[in-house]
Symmetry: C2
Subunit: 118 residues, 2 copies
């Protein structure tokens, strides 16, 4: 059953358009990292330097389709890159994205040290 939103209330909808591009970007990246399976995938990619593809299925307690979905989300967010490598796909981490994240938190820490409270 589908119901109409009679009152025109923005219910259940992220008002992304009200925030800055930077804020949306960080939120998108953080969201993509906001699931332990995806964190695990990243750590796996980090471990197996040669950026192998879906042996991840054997690594994690999730179905192949689920892993594929998680990989897609990571790729959409720009956290990983994937390139076709014959029969398989070579996924690997996107350094520049992590550099953005590192810098963002670094800057926060610089500012937060000025705080005079709590």
């Amino acid at each position: 059953m589908r119901c109409l939103n009679i009152n025109n209330k923005d219910v259940g909808v992220s008002k992304t358009n009200h925030f800055t591009d930077q804020q949306n970007r960080i939120a998108t990246l953080a969201k993509a990292l906001g699931h332990p399976a995806r964190v695990a995938i990243i750590e796996y990619l980090l471990k197996v330097k040669t950026c192998i593809c879906n042996d991840i299925v054997d690594e994690l307690p999730l179905a192949q389709s689920t892993i594929s979905q998680h990989l897609k989300e990571l790729k959409n967010a720009g956290i990983i890159k994937g390139s076709i490598e014959g029969k398989t796909i070579c996924y690997c981490l996107d350094e520049t994205t992590f550099a953005v994240l590192k810098q963002y938190f670094k800057n926060i820490i610089i500012s937060v040290n000025d705080q005079k409270c709590c």
Copy 2:
């Protein structure tokens, strides 16, 4: 209507217990940052050094109850701290948490530079 999960499939449930504490911790932090409103709240707290409370309601295009909910999530994740300050509540960023995040991404970058691919 509520339906039973006849097939015992873990449908729609994060299997957090299959991942390491570290992975779950990072995912929890990232998830809390995974919404532009919460990123905006953090940046606001960063700007107004004196960690004022709900003037955030005037800053963001969201209802008071919604802001309160976002603050709660940030607090639960350990990203902000709050202490009662008379009539108001003094919210401020938790430095140690940001230090964790910064370090995490720093370490990733160190490893990712070894990568020989893509």
